[in-house]
Symmetry: C2
Subunit: 354 residues, 2 copies
């Protein structure tokens, strides 16, 4: 029986990707060897990285003025690498949640942070708007999707300074113009792969701005020069990311993903708004298509609802441990059928317990 | 037909480990979900980490005074993390090759390095001996096995200061007393897993000595506190490491591995010494059991030998691009049969071309 995987991350991956990943654990390209035990300098692995890089560029709509590398350490490592490389005086940050706050904290080790705006006053239930981006800063850093709270920026500000974005939880989920961004990073484990790899996309001209003497592993220029292989890269995590990008590409790319994600979000949120038993926790206009947060009108009935979820084979709907409640994560790989199953359970709960 | 995988790393893994890894890509613990798409905070993944940590402790013979974490970034990241955390004034290093040299270079960003001894004078073809370890340093750093050159320390100096060791390419290959070391690290992709995870073992009391304000991801105390889950860990790479540790444990642990690795090394090196067509490149007493380096007596016949290797399904025998020649890597997972196949090809080459 199909399990409906609403996990916030590591999150759902396409079945055909998982099947190919399993096959590669046993044999890569009819070599008689597993992908897990071959040299990263061999042609099989180099082809994986080349394909992944080229699909990333295609679906962000960017050209050869950008470098694309796969690193390790997730967004958490990027929170430090970004300022280590590019914060030479002052940088601007938008605070939209726990991850943005962590990025700000790490940046403070390297220079002055200017807080452009914050939605902390209402527990990050909205995306701040109408703020001014200063012109005397090295960059402006935003978080496009806030996994923990369920808010998302799907349009982006015009920035007078280089625009940097943590897209960990919504990269490739809808069309964006990659050229608006000078640096994009994403832990791949939400929307494009398993845990263990981090995508970094940056304008090559940025590399000229690195002034600090840095540990080699923290220096973007070294990783770009080494084409993701300055040190042994996380081969399997990048391979699964490549498979997921191929799956996206074959199905119609980000345009297809956008239609599908919009349809899933509309199905879910229209039920959330209609149903008397559940309450959304974020401002309507800032609702994320990736993570939908909600609580129960009657919290004392949570256990009943949880029992019904279990019976319907719905997995991973618990809210983040820091906020509680529920969270439906509906990443690219999720079919609308799974959202329909959840909506049906919500309807059924209302009928029985409303 | 069986392929004999002599790759230097990522290296050979046991067939049964690969089969279990493939199965987990499709379904973990009959959950209906892949290991690649479930939360790292769920019970399935936490059990993986607990088992891996407990097997690491068992086979290093260490107790609860040690912390064990799985990080990302390989030994290359440890080259920086070690001095960032523990080099407060001066540290001593033994230079036995490219990786040790890189560790020294990264340490120089954080303090003074004292070079205890080096074998660079003869292209790292031996392990220096008879050196003095100073007492006024924060730690003494060594590299137990030098993958590129094929030298290995199987006995270790008594150190008057904390002893730190990069064991990336020979951890769990023979019995050691883990209690001799204050810190051990290893990229897992040589002898205990696929690329993408780094094992770090350190005495808990060391954590008191961290004085710098560090990026969170570079701070051992934060990773120990988070039990490898301060940020999303590389779940699959740790899972395969756990499977490999279970395989080791079931077969008889490091005692069994030591017997088997010694037998493989003896088989190979006795042929190398006997055969007129091949010449070892390192001092006999410092030969590694993991990586055996050699060149041809008649280098112009290399292509003939390479053809014979290919015909015998021998893979990954090329030397590192920085030294050339040949290198037979015989990690834990390699059966003696594969070494016998290589020895037979060497004999056959001598008969036909000697």
């Amino acid at each position: 029986m199909k399990v409906h995987n609403f996990s916030a991350g590591p999150g759902i991956l396409p079945k055909e990707v998982l099947q190919k990943a399993a096959a590669a654990c046993l044999d890569v390209n009819h070599s008689g060897l597993s992908l897990l035990e071959v040299s990263h300098r061999g042609k099989d692995v180099i082809a994986v990285f080349d394909t992944a890089v080229s699909l990333v560029k295609k679906h962000l709509g960017i050209g050869d003025d950008y470098a694309v590398v796969f690193l390790q350490g997730g967004a958490s490592m990027q929170f430090s690498m970004v300022p280590a490389n590019f914060l030479n005086g002052k940088a601007a940050y938008l605070n939209t949640g726990v991850w943005a706050s962590k990025a700000i904290k790490e940046a403070e080790l390297y220079g002055v942070t200017h807080l452009v705006a914050s939605s902390k006053d209402r527990n990050f239930a909205y995306i701040p708007k109408g703020y001014n981006i200063p012109t005397d800063v090295d960059y402006f850093h935003i978080t496009s999707n806030n996994t923990i709270y369920g808010t998302q920026m799907r349009t982006f500000p015009e920035s007078p300074v280089p625009l940097f974005c943590d897209m960990s939880s919504d990269i490739f989920s809808h069309r964006i113009d990659g050229n608006k961004f000078d640096l994009i990073y994403a832990g791949v484990q939400k929307n494009m792969g398993p845990a263990g790899a981090t995508l970094v996309v940056l304008k090559k001209e940025l590399l000229q701005k690195i002034k600090r003497t840095l540990p080699s592993m923290l220096n973007y220029a070294i990783h770009v020069e080494g084409e993701s292989m300055y040190n042994t890269p996380p081969v399997f995590a990048v391979y699964v990311s490549m498979l997921t990008l191929e799956w996206l590409d074959t199905n119609g790319g980000v345009e297809w993903a956008e239609k599908r994600n919009k349809a899933k979000a509309e199905l879910f949120y229209s039920e959330l708004d209609r149903n008397s038993q559940f309450v959304g926790t974020v401002d309507t206009e800032d609702r994320s298509w990736m993570n939908a947060n909600f609580v129960m009108a009657a919290p004392e009935k949570e256990e009943i609802f949880k029992g019904m979820l279990k019976e319907a084979n719905i997995n991973g709907l618990a809210g983040h441990r820091s906020v509680g409640g529920f969270r439906a994560s509906m990443y690219n790989a999720m079919d609308i059928d799974s959202v329909q199953v959840l909506v049906d359970v919500m309807k059924s709960f209302e009928q029985k317990n409303g």
